[in-house]
Each structure stands twice: as structure tokens, then as C-alpha cells.
Amino acid sequence: MSMGSLLEMKGITKVYPNGVLANDGVDFSVRKGEIHALVGENGAGKTTLMRVLFGLETPDEGEIYYKGSQLQISSPLQAIRSGIGMVHQHFMLAPSLTVTENIVLGVEPRKGLRFDWDQAVSKVKELAERYNLHVDPRAQIRDIPIGMRQKVEILKALLRGAELLVLDEPTAVLTPQETEELFASLMELKKQGHTMVFISHKLGEVKQITDRISVMRGGRMVGVRNTAEVSEADISRLMVGRDVLLRVNKPPAKPGKKVLEVESLSLFTPEGKALLDGVSFSVREGEILGIAGVEGNGQSELVEILTGLRQAHGGSLRIEGQLCTNAAPGQLRRLGVSHIPEDRMLHGVAVDAAIQENLMADRISKPDYSGKVFLRTKDIESTAKSLVQEFNIVARSPRTPVKMLSGGNIQKVVVAREFSSNPKLVIANQPTRGVDVGAIEFIHRKLVEICRSGVAVLLISADLNEVMSLSDRLLVFYGGRVVAGFSNADAVSEEELGLYMLGIKAQESAQLKEALA
């Protein structure tokens, strides 16, 4: 055992029931008092490794040593008792309970049989004070902003005496300001003697805050470095095994007539808060219109309305001049709208169905695939086969259930279906989220290809890099509004976009109008 190690994980192997080998003999060690980055692409196995550490997954092989002695962690409770805390990427909070209730859950102060609410509140206040993590102890979780929810998560771990804190992509959902605030808190925690594992794939942040870096790739640990001694490019090379250039070869756009016209679209919560507030824009054939913005600023709701999954409360929507506000998804599809959904597992596929059944979902009623009564099985099979080939879907056969595929290949099934329906408008929402680099490149190439063949493309992405490199024109969403528009996406800098995304700046309406046309 190396000197000063707080945690040693040795030879961790984990196979999921669907046969995915998520961790393959992984060694991982953390020194006391450091902030240690665990980086790797989506699907590299970082989260699985940490779930094993926290007792949420049982490894098939491997050992864990903590403070020098071996630990058998079979439940989160054991991890917590040993002093390991975890802040999950998706917050583990009950929305209808209060901040205090969520924090003290499981270690509630009591007065006789009762839950002692007053003492719980003062305990939370005291803790928040000590670590400079300010929260409103009486608010319900559902009413507080994301940044505060994350503080609640951290406080939860600290209340239980966590010395080692694992943060799983903590900045993914934060605004840059919230991120800075979080980093200040983490430095404070470090000063008070806590050790942290910081999972991320944002290399800038990793460089900024960590002491050492462990890199994972394809379920294996591929290297450990001192942060000060490596550059972002070095880490990036380790992560992907080669240099990636997220530059897309894009012939110049030749925009044609307007395909999608959105006019003062609005949507409200039951409480009357505006989710979309008079959104107007249009997309022309042969161009990619990108929408940038921090997640949760109305982009998802916009896409749901454009694809018929949600009803707008005001405004109008036209496809090729035809009014189709609040039409059903099937009607919109018949008008030529195709949609790569944000959450492929929720909307994009039926995982238990075969690939070919998933490929046919939008077109099964068409005369090409269905007669008056019976399906044309042969035509379905041959189309599926050629799509599987054309879109490089790695699978044994088109009859393989989708659940047997990797994330990237599942996304290719979605893309294959949505691109092969002769669309007039493609709405791509986070088209490459959580897929491997190979699939990202493939999907980007296909997006440009289909656009330049005369299809209108609306691209929504939280990945600034993606949205900037692919888009011809660019809009920025903030608070359910379009706050900025750029008729030439190449002419805008990342810093400038950031100011709009955070709502620090907004364009004048005249300037905006020009970009929206």
C-alpha cells in the first residue's frame, strides 16, 4: 500500500446484467487531503466505479481498502459509516420534503417518539454556517434552484461525517457562477481537512481545482498524473486514446425557404410561471440553427411543443407555411418533422423491442410497410438491414433487442430512423449526449450531410463546443426567452455566449430581429 493513501480500490470488475463490462480490473487510489479528479468520456466507467465504492453496485471482483484496512461495502449505509459521502450527478432528494428533512433523513433528532423539527433546523443552520454553504432550511426541495439543491446534497454528506466526498459531475447542471461558488466551497472543505474525488469531463475545471488526475477509458484505468504536470491536451489524449478534433467539415450553407416558423410561443407552469415567454424564430432549409443555453431555460419544453409532445399555451407554429400549433406527434411527423430526443431511453427507443421494430416506429402505417391488414414483413426486414448497414449500427442482426446495444449504437438506431424518413425538418436535441467519440463524429457528419441536402435542422445542445461548431446561425436561450441571436455562428466567441447564457447580457430587439429572420 502506498504512503498516505486514504482509499485504495484494487482490481474492481463489474459486469451489468445486460452484459456490459463497465469496470475491468480497475485500480484507483486517493491520498488524504487532496482533490482527485476522475476523468474519462461518458461510458468510461467512472460512475460505476464510484457506485461500487458507495455500495450501490456489488463488484464481481476486486477489493477496497480504506484507511489501511479492507472494507466490504455492500450498502450505502456502510460507506456512510466509514466516512465516505457521495454527491450524485442526479440529485438524490425527495422533492416534496423540506431541505432540513432531506438533510437529516436517517439521522433525525428526536424528542421522545417525535421527530424534533426545531432541533433539526438549527442543526442544519449551524452546519451550513460552518462550511459556508447557504441554504434555506424550511424550503421544499422542489422550490429551490439547482445550485442550492447541490449544497443540500453536500450538507447531507457532511452531516454524516463524510471525510471522503465523491462528487459525480457536480458542475454539469450549474451555471458558471454557481460553479465558481461550488469551487470556493470545495477549497474551503479541503482546508478543513476533507478529501474529494471530483468526477468530470470538463478538463478546464479539472485543471483549475484538482491535485491529481486518474483517467479511465473503456472500463479500464489508463493513467494517473499530477495535475500541475500535464496539459489539457495530454489528458484529452489519454481519455480518447488519440487526438480528437471537434472541428466539423462544413460546406457553406445555402439557406432556402423557411421550413419552420415559430411565432411568440408561450408556456406556463400551473403556478403561472413562464417556461417559454414569447419565443419566435424560423429555420430555413439547408441551414443548421443552433440553440445554446444552460439546461433548464426552456429548450426542452420548446422541443416538446415543436414535436407535439406538449401543448403550447399561446403562440403559433408553422411547417412550410401550414399552421400546426399543438398538432399531435403523428401529424407533425407526416408534415416532415423528425426528432432526435434528448433522452433516448425515455423517448427514442423501446429497449425490449428489436432494432428493426424500433426503426419502423414512425412509418409502420405507410403503404411501403403495411398492406390493408398485414405488415409487409419482407420489406420491413430489408429496409432495416440496409439502415443498420448505412448507419454502422454494430449488432448481431436487426432482430437483436435494442437493450443489447451500447449507448452509441442505440443513438445510431434513433438517428437512422429519424434521418431516413425523408424529413423536411430535423429537430436534434442533445444528439450526441453520452455516446462515444466515434459515434459523435458519425452523427455530426450525418447532421451536416442531411442539412446540406436541403433539410432544415434545429440543433439544441448544452455542449457549447458542439453547438458552435455545427451551427450556421445561433440563438441563445435564457429564462424561456431568446436573449441573443447571431446570423453567423462562427463570428461569436465562447466568452460572449457565456454572458448571454447567464442572463448577464441581452441583445437589443433590433439586433435580435436581424438574427431571427
Binding site: I80, A94, L97, F268
Partner: protein, 314 residues
């Protein structure tokens, strides 16, 4: 019609409404507790049958109604945990586990009855005991209210106490907080080391305990015998009452009273010249209607945002 109204407003009707509400209320509270922990307990029906037949058999053996009740409760809890084991540990769908429970109980209780008494339809050959009725001092002197509230089977008062007890447990104790956290967000409970399985077991155990009271009330209070499938859907009505009452003990108690009202009405109207089939349909139709109205209201509430938007646009 006039006589119907008079009947409904009579003291006797008020009394019988409370009486028929009792088993429904127990089942409904059982449904609330398990649903709060995230498990729809469709097996309440079967659990009531099991405790009902156990109470009758054990009280006949021991000649003690209280021992009968105790045995009924113990068995109902054990079977609830047994069902829970399949759902929680082995991954059986909760609804299917509940259906299996009901299948086992509806045949198993008759089987047990046959083994114990040689009868397959009704337990009248067993000298089983009945739990006592209670006169409430002072209250029984008050006109109108006294005769309605007083003189019920002891379990009726248990049921009313259980409403308060379940409320206190769920909303005022640490364990109740954990149970609700498990139901609303199992991951969040898990992440702080609260065992989701243990809490679900606890919830199902309590649910079985309450259903046990309901079953024993039927066979050792409501009537003095056990008969095949005597719950007649009360466990299911309890589920509906819980849904209608917003899965809250107080709301559920009110919904249960409504079902008790419909049930009592059907008993009362049987004495009129309305076909008994129609009258007996009332509680079930009421459940379906209430479910529809409730779901519709829920849906229109979700659409309210639209109206507000309309105003703003105009």
C-alpha cells in the same frame, strides 16, 4: 322517495354507516401506508380474508375473541411480509404479488376452513367468538349523536383511532419521514443509508396489520362467522378510498365514510322494492364514478396553466 330520505336521516342509518365503514377504513389505511412507501398493496383483500378465517378458527379453539384477533393480526402481518419478500427481494411486480396473495387467500382460507371445520362455505359449525361492543360513557346519553356513535364494536373505535395513529406515524415520527422518503424517492433514501427494502417491509407489515383488523372485524364483529370470499371487494374499495383521499389518512377516512354511506344505503334500500342487484351495485359504481371524477379533476388541474396563459395573452 320520502321514506328513503327519512331512512337516510335516521339514527339507525348513521349507526350502520359507521359499522360498514369500519372494515373499509382499515383496508384504506393499510393502502395509505403501503402506498406512501411506494407499494400499491392489492393483496389487502386476501390479507383480510386470512385474518378473518384465522380469527374465527383460533377464537373457536381458545374460546377467546382477543386471542383470535391476535392470531388474525399475526397471520395477516406474516402474509403481508411474505408477499413483500417476493416483491422486494425477488422482484415480483407488486400488483402481481397482490393478485397472487388474493388467489392464495381466497382458496387457502376455504381450505383452512375445511380442515378446521369440515365445512367449505361458512364457519357456522365452529363456536367462534365475537369481539365486544362498547358503550361510550356520557356520549351515549346525547340524543341522536349518542346512538350513532356509541355501542359499536370495539374495532370500530380502533379504526377511528387508527386514522389518528397513522397520521401521527407518517407525519410526526422519524420513521414516518423515512417511509415517505422511500415512497417518493427511493434513491434519495438509499443514498443516506436508509434501507428501502426494510422500510417497504415495515410499510407492508403495517398494511397487513391494519388489514388484519379489518378482516377480524368482518368475521368477529360485523357478523359472527367466516364465509367464503366474505370481503366481497372491500380490500379493493379500500384502495380506491386511498386514491380518492389523496393517499392521506384524513382524506382517506372521509372517502371511506363515503363508501360506507353507499354501502349502508344499499343495505337500507334492499328493504324497498328496488331490485337488490342494483342496490348492491351502488358502492362499486360509486367507486368507479368517484375514480373518474377524481382523475378528471386531477387532469383539469394540470391544465390550469393553460387558462392562466389565456388570460395573459388576452
Amino acid at each position: 322517495m320520502g321514506s328513503t330520505l327519512k331512512g337516510i336521516f335516521s339514527v339507525g342509518f348513521g349507526y350502520s354507516m359507521l359499522r360498514v365503514t369500519t372494515p373499509i377504513l382499515f383496508a384504506a389505511l393499510g393502502a395509505v401506508v403501503s402506498e406512501k412507501a411506494g407499494a400499491v398493496n392489492i393483496g389487502l383483500e386476501g390479507l383480510m380474508l386470512i385474518s378473518g378465517v384465522t380469527g374465527v378458527i383460533v377464537s373457536a379453539w381458545t374460546q377467546s375473541a382477543w386471542l383470535g384477533l391476535l392470531a388474525g393480526l399475526v397471520l395477516a402481518v406474516l402474509f403481508a411480509l411474505f408477499m413483500g419478500y417476493f416483491h422486494i427481494k425477488l422482484g415480483t411486480d407488486m400488483v402481481l404479488a397482490g393478485i397472487a396473495m388474493n388467489v392464495i387467500a381466497s382458496g387457502g382460507t376455504v381450505f383452512a376452513l375445511f380442515v378446521a371445520s369440515g365445512d367449505r362455505g361458512i364457519s357456522s359449525s365452529l363456536a367462534s367468538k365475537v369481539l365486544p361492543t362498547v358503550e361510550l360513557p356520557l356520549i351515549n346519553k346525547i340524543p341522536v349523536i349518542g346512538p350513532i356513535l356509541s355501542g359499536h364494536n370495539v374495532l370500530t373505535y380502533f379504526a377511528l383511532l387508527a386514522v389518528v395513529g397513522v397520521w401521527y406515524f407518517l407525519y410526526r415520527t422519524p420513521l414516518g419521514l423515512r417511509l415517505r422518503a422511500v415512497g417518493e424517492s427511493p434513491d434519495s433514501a438509499d443514498s443516506v443509508g436508509i434501507s428501502v427494502s426494510k422500510m417497504r417491509f415495515l410499510a407492508l407489515g403495517i398494511s397487513g396489520f391494519l388489514a388484519g383488523f379489518g378482516g377480524c372485524h368482518l368475521s368477529m364483529g360485523y357478523v359472527s362467522w367466516f364465509s367464503r370470499d366474505m370481503t366481497a371487494g372491500r380490500g379493493f374499495i379500500g384502495l380506491a378510498a386511498s386514491a380518492l383521499g389523496g393517499v392521506h389518512p384524513i382524506g382517506t377516512a372521509i372517502a371511506s365514510l363515503f363508501f360506507g354511506f353507499a354501502d349502508a344505503l344499499s343495505n337500507y334500500m334492499q328493504s324497498l322494492s328496488i331490485p337488490s342487484e342494483f342496490v348492491q351495485m351502488i358502492p362499486y359504481l360509486a367507486t368507479v364514478a368517484a375514480l373518474g371524477v377524481f382523475a378528471r379533476r386531477q387532469m383539469s388541474r394540470e391544465r390550469k396553466g393553460k387558462k392562466q396563459a389565456g388570460r395573459e395573452v388576452a
